[in-house]
Subunit: 299 residues, 4 copies
């Protein structure tokens, strides 16, 4: 089921209820909304899903809900981002038990990690389950920076590590992954603000929370580039760019939750110390969505 | 008890037993060793103490052990570094209940925090207990960078926030804190490799794990600068600089645990994915300690 | 003649004779070789042309030779990169007098310049001649970093400043120029290693010394993207990428002169302290050119 | 005469007359003012002296005037900062011919230089005259960054290269120079805003334009640290720090010329594109000088 992920990997936020735990009803609406956006896969409990801010029990709750709601309609990816190898392995096993289809694994650093340390972290997770793994590089949030050479080595030496997600926003790294593997390792762009160029450069897909607010526009952008309709792809990209930049630079949980509320799907506030979007920014987002004629989300 | 911290704030590592939890006996030896180094305070569960890698129960265990072992011989500081405000408040309360004397609080980011978010995080912790608080800035490990202006504002507006620890290694920030407060806010240097200069610049103290390996040399350095014996202070600083740089750039838990083992105090391995120090580096550390005539630690 | 520059702006090196001045014969061969590469314009005395290392008299010699050799077959751009406004104005006037078609102007800093200082620098040059101007941003070599907002302001407020060359290698800036001007200001990519993506993003052209070694491959890449043949464009880009990266990271005069010599067109050494390419690097370049089946340059 | 430079190396600005060339009368007053500030040496045609903005003839004029005015009362250092080795050698020879006592040499890059290229640049200059040389590292203005290891190698392998000036503002580099040479190579601090700490770290001197505005305060700071009076040194440093920061971050020629005019010594405007200090900044500088009770300069 996970051999052919080409296109949009959509990232839901994790809605909280006023009492503090996951709001199941909102969670399902958020997921259904993404399923309508023509994704190639849905990835739960990533950065956008505030996984770093969840208790362990909440994380398991979210993973279960994700698998249940998608119910096989598209591949389900679950994010694993832990400081200790033991905790990462435990989450990987849980994801496998409940029927997830793939893991997206990012190492997290407090103390700087050597490549030997990162490699063994991946190896321990990879041998803990049979699930295919997407190695995920995002130095800005994780504090760990893996080079293209190292990422390609992970794919070559660990059989279940088969995909790379690059969120550093550095085209040179995508070029290097492509050249080092002769274009054979599928890599995914995680930097929203350069999606057009990453797809042009050969990315197999685009990992993004944007479909929460932009519906199938990201999927259309992907298709237009594949079809060689560069002029229309470029026009669409520049049209949605203000929203892409807004959600990246304002923080995904804060901005996407604000945008969902504007679209009639209240998903709660992000978890403190994160605060809801301030009024002036909210107005700006409302304008951007209005310009794009983004409508309300079906109940 | 915490009005007059001037000098060295010593940071223990957290020793693990082979079974995985905290090794109580080694923990006590590590603490006693620091108490002999003439510290102005001891700070448990900081970066060096691998607090980011502990379960919540282990963290409480470490805090209790620290307070019990010091038993009033010097002020006890406990580190609070949490992604969510709720978890930080819970730890602050626990530290207060068990009799710690001060909190050292650092915000941690996954998503970038605004100053309003950071301020409220501190405010929530500050109102949760009566303990004095040291606001701690260390962008390299925490992902949050607080400006001198903001740190001074925290001290001015939150009555129990009374101290600042600066680990960014940027002298300009120490200068700014000094100028903004007319020298009235005690600030502490957390950047080992520039301890001489930070003390010259007016730091009230030096927060460091170095006494684990260097005994009272850091305390002597502090005293020499205070006494105006710049020539001997400089000579001592350059003498210990290789060890200071080694433990900073190799990661405190990894290098300090290795050094303690060399000194006859096995404190276990750091927690995976962190690995023990590699052989070549261990030899280098052994040489540095031998040159300084650092001896074994009393049983 | 300069209203419609779309495609490749080709940059010659400046060949030196053994006696030290410009080697006229080699200069003409270098220029003819570029004219065969299907350029939209040729730009003399840019970074690749070692203009920073020429005496004033040599600079004038090079400008004259350029205009004479091209002889109207394609627009001639002349680079103006001076620390003082007076020297820049003098060169602009000279370029105009001898019949150049356009100026490419980059401010150079020793002391950091304010925007007011940079603006007046451009204004003085712009009013000194009637030539259209390409405002050129390359913080890495010039020490001056102009924001997209400022560059767009230059175009809006100074009538002859009509084009922008961006060499910072930051896609966000191209996006900003596009959005700020609704796609109306032609911008040119100066970062070889991301040419594919810059063209996809809407660059009107690509300023490059690569045609010296790659003949019409850059022009073909530009055409393939325009034609929507992304698959072949991508294949060609990844094919020539090693050479693009090699000449950028090894320094254009050093590497391009080495490559020209390999192709049978000795263009002398770069000017000291620059040295000729070291042997190991020269072999690497020879391999890259052999793989691409780059042949000798006609006499 | 140049074996014992310990203390302040004072940097004059280069005053221009309204007609454009060097204003000789103002030049002499600027120099006499510096000679009263208790310098260990005076360095003409450095960054503060706008040497990058002078024609070759003006540069020679300035060098001659400097040597004549000082007339042996203190060692005269002349700055050599050229893109080409040939031009640097020519200036070094001229400085030697007119009786300067030392050269301060900084390589300048347009194209990034390898260590082999920088080494040969220094070697050519060093063999061109008998003058002792201060190797000068200032990546921010020159675009060339020389490591401590490389700087120490220059001193070891080129007999007349005997001093190092470090303006990167990175304490680690001063530490490295000290450790690599066992404290035997005299190094000078060129970063005004950390003068206190650099002297504490063992700098043999402080290269600064500050005496133009602060008279002998820099010399006193140097003496106080040497004498071990850290408390008074620190107090003096924090007192003058606003001026030190102001002249560094506002650009030396612009701010120092403005300050000299405030003190009754009009030294003309800096050379365009540099502009005179804007009004609001000028008021700030006037306040800083008033607070320090800096008085007018004797005619």
């Amino acid at each position: 089921m996970t051999d052919t992920i080409r296109g949009i990997v959509a990232y839901p936020v994790t809605p909280f209820s006023d009492e503090g735990g996951i709001d199941e009803r909102a969670f399902r609406r958020v997921t259904e909304n993404l399923l309508r956006s023509k994704p190639a896969a849905v990835a739960f409990l990533g950065s956008a899903g505030e996984s770093a801010y969840l208790t362990e029990e909440e994380w398991r709750h979210g993973a279960r809900l994700g698998v249940e709601t998608v119910a096989g309609r598209t591949p389900v990816i679950v994010g694993v981002a832990e400081l200790t190898t033991a905790a990462a392995v435990a989450k990987a096993r849980y994801a496998s038990e409940i029927g997830a289809n793939m893991l997206m694994v990012i190492p997290v650093s407090y103390w700087k990690l050597t490549e030997a340390e990162i490699f063994d972290h991946y190896a321990a997770i990879a041998t803990a389950t049979d699930l295919p793994i997407m190695a995920y590089n995002n130095p800005g949030t994780s504090g760990v920076d893996m080079s293209p050479e190292f990422l390609v080595r992970l794919v070559r030496e660990l059989p279940t590590v088969r995909f790379i997600k690059e969120s550093s926003g550095d085209l040179n790294r995508m070029h290097a992954i492509y050249k080092l593997s002769n274009g054979t390792i599928p890599f995914y762009n995680g930097a929203n603000h350069m999606a057009l160029e990453a797809i042009a450069a050969g990315a197999a897909g685009w990992c993004t929370a944007a479909p929460n607010l932009l519906d199938d526009r990201p999927a259309r952008l992907f298709e237009l580039v594949q079809a060689g309709d560069i002029a229309r792809a470029r026009a669409l990209f520049y049209e949605i760019l203000p929203v892409l930049r807004f959600i990246v630079f304002g923080g995904l949980p804060t901005t996407v939750k604000a945008g969902l509320a504007l679209r009639g799907l209240p998903a709660g506030a992000p978890r403190p110390p994160l605060k809801p979007l301030v009024e002036a920014e909210l107005r700006k987002l409302a304008e951007y969505l209005a310009e794009l004629k983004v409508g309300p989300i079906p109940a």
